[in-house]
């Protein structure tokens, strides 16, 4: 819009464009892009292999990815608030190790699980403390705690794996409610709760405000530090839940559990259209991106594409989808 236009002309122009604009605002939503991609890939995959188009099969294979997706949901909130947490995969490992060590020491499973979740909260609290009290950039802090937590996990269990959990704890991915595996139920429930919390509670809106302009948020009286602390706590807690789920699925725990997972989790959140600068993003986007990842990974596995090629495709997808949404976004703002 050039500066010579009067506000009236501008308003007039905008009014006549209204239907087109509304159509465009739906198109530029990253959620739309990812939904289209899901449909596209699902069609393609079912062409490639007749075994793919089977909901039960997809649900079953999704249990491998659901742990990361669960954390990606929480991470979305953190990123919307303009922070980032790279220590998530290490927190998963450490909390799972706390659980395993407690079980080995003869503690009952519920208490061990509580200890594990508690350790997740403590780790999140340390991240939040360093970010809110010492005002260090969260990317830097969590690169440090990524090493620290992974190292502590190594201290706890050494280089061996701890297994032999009671049989009712192992194999969460084989249990199902109705026909849906339990991990998927947990994931969907978390998505609904977090989605509602983000879109329709005052705290949710405050997270957006902090991400959009932190100084302004402070001036209107939002307890920025308290909310950020809460988000880091949530990130630790979510990672602990995911760590327990993974321990149950694998039936044993090692210190190198989920190594490198942080990048994959960030990738899910980014694919869902969350802006790395904060202030933009939705739980729906991350939710869809998680399913997209499940479909593309199982689709490629079914079509006999090697894991190396899958890495290439994932990287390309992230870049291409970001470019595409960005171009749409810029077009619509002209």
């Amino acid at each position: 819009m050039s500066s010579t236009e009067t506000p009236l002309q501008a308003a007039h122009g905008r009014k006549s464009l209204l239907p087109a604009l509304r159509w465009r605002t739906i198109i530029i939503r990253p959620e739309t892009a990812i939904l289209l991609l899901i449909v596209l890939i699902a069609t393609l995959a079912s062409r490639l292999s007749p075994y793919f188009a089977n909901i039960a099969f997809i649900l079953e294979s999704s249990t491998y990815y659901v742990e990361f997706s669960l954390i990606a949901l929480v991470l979305t909130l953190v990123i919307i608030a303009g922070e980032i947490d790279l220590s998530i995969a290490s927190m998963m490992a450490l909390s799972a190790c706390v659980f395993a060590v407690a079980v080995r020491a003869g503690v009952s499973i519920p208490i061990a699980m509580t200890a594990s979740l508690g350790s997740g909260l403590v780790m999140g609290a340390l991240n939040g403390f360093l970010v809110t009290i010492f005002r260090l950039p969260s990317i830097v802090v969590t690169i440090g705690t990524l090493t620290l937590y992974r190292g502590l996990a190594q201290v706890l269990v050494g280089d061996r794996s701890i297994g032999s959990f009671p049989s009712w704890f192992v194999g969460i991915d084989f249990r199902s409610i109705g026909r849906v595996p339990v991990p998927v139920v947990i994931f969907v429930t978390a998505a609904i709760v977090l989605g509602l919390g983000l879109s329709s509670t005052i705290y949710g809106r405050q997270i957006y405000q902090i991400g959009a302009n932190e100084i302004a948020a402070r001036h209107v009286g939002i307890h920025v530090d308290r909310i950020k602390m809460g988000l880091f706590l949530a990130s630790g807690f979510g990672s602990a839940i995911a760590g327990l789920m993974m321990a149950s699925r694998l039936g044993s725990v090692r210190y190198d559990l989920a190594t490198g997972g942080e990048l994959q989790i960030v990738l899910i959140a980014m694919l869902g259209g969350t802006s790395i600068f904060g202030g933009r993003g939705t739980i729906l986007g991350t939710f869809l991106a998680s399913w997209f990842l499940v479909i593309i990974a199982t689709g490629m596995t079914v079509a006999n594409i090697t894991i190396n090629a899958q890495l290439t495709v994932l990287g390309l997808l992230l870049i291409v989808s970001t470019i595409a949404t960005n171009i749409f976004y810029v077009r619509c703002h002209q």
Partner: protein
């Protein structure tokens, strides 16, 4: 009366010297490198107090041997971070160039070493250029782009190498010797690494392009108004970072004697970024120097070397390493802000 006057003057004089000293100390502390240098000295003293063996020339030699890889890559990462970007794909670029360099050595054992070096650096520069082009053309945040290319390059590298590692007997003897010795006694790769640091220092301090990187990093909008074109600066920083990661890739082959597509360089980006920010380079761009980065790399190198000497068990080393990164970050921040009180006084600065 007279006594009072004398006491007054005395007091004043004492205060004046105190003031100058405080001011001097303040000015020293304001130099970004001071914080990290203090931490380095402090760490060496503590380590030396616990185990006197630490404070010997032998330790210095081992530290020097341990750092060239991270040092070279950290130079590239620092340039990128100063320009207000970040390069997460560095580990994959390192692995990629190491594999390509290794393939050259394996398939053409008669070619001179220089060719392997050149190929690795060029491959790295090419991959970095790709990062830079995407960031600059589409105006995307570099953290997303390089996160994408991190998996992209790793995937291509797997395909390229056929998921097989370059074995020790495929790597020429002369390359491995470069990581062990030279005519001067100090291994070649250490000499090259410090030469690179020196060149980067001169480039950033004394060339127009180098100053432009700082200008763009501290305020891109102001830099554009000043007539600096951002596009070439972005391309330049990513290409340099890629080229230096490529050089680090050859160093990897020289030092470890093998290159594995699934291991080489995985997680390396975090080590490098940690070293750079521990040195006091601001992740928000525009601030940082070669000296600070070198000190950061040396500190983390010294920690790696010290932990086994101090008799810590192998299992504790990673945890202590992470803890020291955090302590160095907090202390560095405290020194720069003039004491711990300064930490809470910046609420509004966000």
């Amino acid at each position: 009366m007279r006594q009072c006057l004398v006491r007054c003057i005395d007091d004043f004089a004492r205060n004046a010297t105190m003031n100058t000293m405080i001011r001097l100390a303040g000015r020293v502390a304001q130099v970004r490198e001071a914080g990290i240098a203090m931490i380095l000295v402090l760490f060496s003293l503590i380590a030396g107090a616990v185990e006197p063996r630490f404070l010997t020339g032998e330790t210095a030699r081992v530290v020097l041997l341990a750092i060239p890889l991270v040092l070279v890559a950290a130079m590239g990462q620092m340039i990128v971070i100063v320009a207000r970007h970040v390069d997460l794909s560095m580990g994959s670029i390192l692995g990629f160039s190491a594999i390509v360099g290794g393939l050259v050595f394996r398939d053409h054992p008669q070619w001179p070493l220089v060719i392997g070096f050149l190929v690795a650096i060029l491959v790295g520069a090419g991959l970095g250029l790709f990062n830079g082009l995407i960031v600059a053309i589409f105006k995307l945040p570099s953290i997303i782009v390089t996160l994408g290319t991190l998996s992209l390059y790793r995937g291509i590298l797997f395909t390229l190498s056929g998921a097989r590692q370059i074995d020790p007997n495929d790597i020429p003897e002369s390359l491995i010797r470069m990581a062990q010795t030279s005519p001067v006694g100090v291994p070649w790769i250490v000499i090259i690494a410090f030469a690179v640091a020196l060149v980067v220092h001169c480039f950033l301090k004394h060339t127009e392009a180098g100053r432009h990187i700082y200008a763009v990093g501290s305020n891109p909008v102001a830099a554009r108004l000043r007539g600096i074109r951002i596009f070439p600066v972005t391309i330049l920083v990513f290409t340099l970072s890629g080229a230096l990661a490529g050089l680090a890739g050859i160093f990897y082959a020289a030092r470890f004697g093998y290159v594995n597509p699934g291991i080489t360089g995985v997680g390396f980006e975090f080590t490098v970024i940690a070293a750079v920010v521990v040195g006091g380079v601001s992740i928000n761009g525009g601030v940082g120097s070669v000296l600070a980065t070198v000190l950061g790399v040396v500190l983390l190198g010294a920690v790696t070397v010290a932990l086994p000497i101090l008799g810590t068990s192998g299992f504790w080393q990673n945890a202590l390493y992470g803890a020291i990164i955090l302590i160095a970050l907090v202390l560095g921040r405290a020194v720069r802000q003039g004491g711990l009180r300064g930490l809470s006084a910046t609420k509004d600065a966000g």
